[in-house]
Symmetry: C2
Subunit: 141 residues, 2 copies
DNA sequence: GTATCTGCAAAAGATTTGCAGCAAG
DNA sequence: CTTGCTGCAAATCTTTTGCAGATAC
């Protein structure tokens, strides 16, 4: 299945490319390049730069969606899922939860009409303090 | 006016801090640290690290809002405006337009209820192709 | 005066690139 | 076999940090 995706996109079907797609197919939440690489090296000899290169190519070929997060790191997810996710990050402990529904479709249609732009994507992440850190935190400014 | 803001926040009222606030008060669109610094050096001797430090402090003290953009750069705007902006970036020419209304308030309330997180902020940027680049572009995949 | 600010240069962290060797079609 | 893929190391880009000197209050 990942092989077919690759062939239809015109990219060669290499072990590493299949592996990256496979890892993301099993992820319940968008992952950073570092996380994907850490997972990939368990199965296959693969360098950091290859991971980055694959992620960039797969994003370019619209097999992946890339989200530039709120901490200088990019998060990747499969673009083939019926609806993409966004994430909510705890600014204290770094916990991440996913938001399965994306509320921006209607807005994008309006934006396109108002600006004349063809909208190709968006970046959305939320920051907050998770229930656990709220309990631990003494100050509550 | 920028002086009062600074005093009420507990930060010392230095020439550079006033300058940064002033530049952002006159900006029609969120600016990157680099743009702010480029503007600031026209008026005042100021180093890159100071610009970054000031932006971080002012954000920390809630005088500024920071948006981590879709290209590894952060965009800053005054937090004192009645309603904050988001931006739409042309992926071909780099043009940026502002979106004056933020559609996420209702969603954040629901998110807080559903996750137990206290929501402290969000990051949102759109990518697209501007009318001009659509005309110039031959391919339209 | 003293705690806070600032400039400079050097460090850090994420990502990209050059190049020589390897592998898919 | 030829074009595209990969690892390694070095480069790049944005942002952060250490430290000695300057400035606000």
């Amino acid at each position: 299945m990942t092989s077919k995706l690759l062939q239809s996109s015109g990219l060669r079907c290499t072990r590493r490319r299949k592996l990256v797609l496979d890892i993301l197919a099993h992820a319940k939440i968008p992952m950073t390049a570092e996380e994907i690489h850490a997972e990939a090296v368990k199965t296959e000899k693969i360098g950091f730069s290859t991971t980055y290169r694959l992620l960039a190519q797969l994003t370019e070929h619209r097999l992946l969606l890339k989200n530039d997060g709120c901490n200088g790191r990019a998060y990747y997810q499969l673009a083939t899922a019926p609806s993409h996710m966004h994430t909510l990050h705890c600014i204290l402990c770094g916990d991440v939860v996913s938001i399965d529904h994306c509320p921006l479709a209607a807005l994008e249609t309006r934006l396109a009409a108002e600006t004349g732009y063809r909208i190709t994507g968006h970046n959305l992440t939320f920051q907050g303090i998770c229930p656990n850190c709220q309990k631990l935190s003494i100050c509550d400014s």
